[in-house]
Symmetry: none
Subunit: 226 residues, 4 copies
DNA sequence: GATGAATGAGTTTTCATTCAT
DNA sequence: TATGAATGAAAACTCATTCAT
């Protein structure tokens, strides 16, 4: 049940890139100006990632877009992958924060599930292309671990809620497994909702279907086994 | 409800790569020797894609692994992306064929759903890394369209089955929407099953959960509408 | 006064290409079919040279255009430069033949000059692009020598004519020098005529100007010597 | 009367090379060091063009000869053709400047013609091979237009001079046509003079012949019209 | 600190030429 | 003899990274 990623990272162990390269920022910007520089670089990276993908990302273009020189870029980031890692980190923070904020406790299971779905949709980065890029990037960029942490954390939140509504659940349901499954489903379905209707998020039809799927799963006794 | 991808392609419109580059094979091998060459190149590409990812793919390495010269490679494929596209095509064919083969008609809805799940698991490429690589690659490589076709085709198959068991379904269920949702869920869940237990496919626990999820969704009346 | 080229080759000693490569045909086609093959190859080369220039000439394209295989091409031509050399040779023959044919003896100097100009215009290859390509090609392709021969031969013809009309010429004119100069002028002016009015050759205005230039030169006594 | 090229470009519209490739410099060197680099690259290109021709020109050799890295070369020039274009541009400037400088007004037509010839000979690049290379290169390298401009400009200068000496000219001479013809002749003849006697420019014999040709043309009434 | 010029290893891609069938 | 598959050296071009100013 590991490896489930709710938001940022769909995939398991890193692959395709030498993992021993250090990807962490070189130093933290102290002065305000430096902080602005770093911020600009991260924003530029995110934009280019969204527009063109990782293949087309070059340090020169990032620097140009950010309005700084390559030299400055390398002052804060040791290599190209560190750029992408920084973007992943940056957005991870945002995601977790947003998710936590959207989360509330509710009286009924139905209301709780609604809250989950709402949180999932709301906390997705609004630009699905960036989301996708981050999803694909994280493991390649040395951020697979962090992905799993977030994933697990969200599954944990879900499990807590389920426990709170244990009496409404089908009795033979394993809460941990159910939580993991729901995390996966939420991830998938909100992905789809965003792809199909990027403009009108949350897409009500998708929300209704999703709620139905999850609620039915949680409350129906096991039928038709084997 | 487009853009659902069951097997090969999780994502929407291509991005991240200049689309006007032609990605189609340069010519078809006529002689047996040439056919073997092309085959070897595709196999080598698939291997390297699996092992190292698209970033690390170089035409030189593909040629080396395939035991041919770069020249031979370029005789049949106009560029690097065409290699990946060929792999996608190659496996798409296999997938559709496998899926069709695994498909059977059954008496009960439960049995039909079992059949779906079984087909989903069975027809996944056994190397999940390749599957993932293909998933990510397809849109970047000019194969987004084909992805949607396959997706839609599988959703269509599912819809047919649902229609056949209409009397067992919750009456307020839209068959087309349900089929699309199931396609998405199957894709995701079988992904996860493979990632978590690559050795023992099909993972029985995942299968049971998945069946439960889908059956509950299909048969429960809509409850707890907010 | 060497190096003057009337038709085919404007420039002096070969440069830019290793001269020790043999450029002569490999063998002469004996059978009719083989002769047709060689013919087709030369025609195809000439076309591609005209359309795309020497840079873009590849043996594969020549073979394709000629409707034969590369292998067949190499059966008759040892290397790429030999192709161009063959075209040069081929057209040289044609040029000389055409020039000889257009040449007639006339009563007056004016009529003789007219004849020269007419011959120059008529015997230019009708596709000026090919002409230019050949011009540039000859020295690079080991055919500089032949170019000079043709050049000299035409200058010789002109000198003969001048001698025949010696009494009409300015007395202090050196016939050999004059012939060489005229050869050069004819070359240039007919070039220009073709470039400016490719459709309507001979361009009457250019012909008149040219005649005036040459006749004035031949008949005026030397004036205004600095 | 376009398309006459006095110095740099003997031929008409570009051919033989894909024209949509951008040939302009990538960026202008700002720092002194960069300016030196660009200068070195242009000089090296000119040398290699002279010694070996365009066929044998490789970016690696240019860089080596210039004492810089390929990377530096590509920082300023987007491709190989841009190198040649830069050389053409560079020398065009020089040519026009030199021509303007050599130009003077004179009392008699004969003196004016002498001045033209002198200017033509003097302002030729001293290395005729480079001149030839530039001549052939200009159109292939996207510089045909510029060629025509220079051509036209020189013809214009000549026409002005002719107008100033209108009373000495044959009355039925069209000044514009005559200027264009003279431009062509000067180009050709100085070419030949340089080729035949590269060491002793100006070659007195050629100068005398050339003056005679032009003066006779300008002053003789039209004779022997067909 | 910031800049951007310089580097060069590493890739992609081409194409003349050979040779087994 | 004809074919066209295979070759691989060689060329163009990129881009992450360094470092003098």
């Amino acid at each position: 049940m590991t490896n489930l990623s709710f938001f940022v990272f769909a995939f398991g162990p890193a692959f395709g890139m030498n993992p021993q390269v250090d990807v962490n920022p070189r130093k933290f910007p102290r002065q305000a100006r430096a902080r602005a520089t770093v911020e600009a670089i991260i924003v530029a990276t995110a934009q280019l990632l969204t527009e063109e993908g990782f293949e087309a990302l070059t340090t020169a273009r990032v620097a140009e877009r950010a309005g700084v020189s390559v030299g400055s870029l390398y002052q804060y980031f040791p290599n190209k992958r560190a750029l992408a890692a920084a973007v992943v980190d940056h957005h991870s923070e945002k995601l977790v924060a947003a998710f936590d904020a959207a989360w509330q406790s509710h009286d009924t299971l139905a209301a709780a599930v609604d809250s989950m779905i709402r949180a999932a949709l709301v906390t997705h980065p609004h630009r699905p292309e960036l989301h996708r890029a981050l999803n694909e990037l994280a493991p390649r960029v040395g951020r697979a671990e962090k992905a799993q942490q977030i994933s697990a954390r969200i599954a944990g939140l879900i499990e807590t809620v389920l426990a709170r509504h244990r009496h409404e659940l089908a009795p033979d349901l394993e809460p941990a497994d159910a939580a993991a499954l729901i995390e996966t489903v939420l991830e998938t379905v909100s992905h789809r909702a965003i792809q199909d209707h990027p403009a009108s998020i949350p897409d009500e039809k998708a929300v209704i279907q999703c709620r139905r799927l999850i609620l039915a799963y949680l409350t129906s006794p096991c039928i038709g086994v084997g």
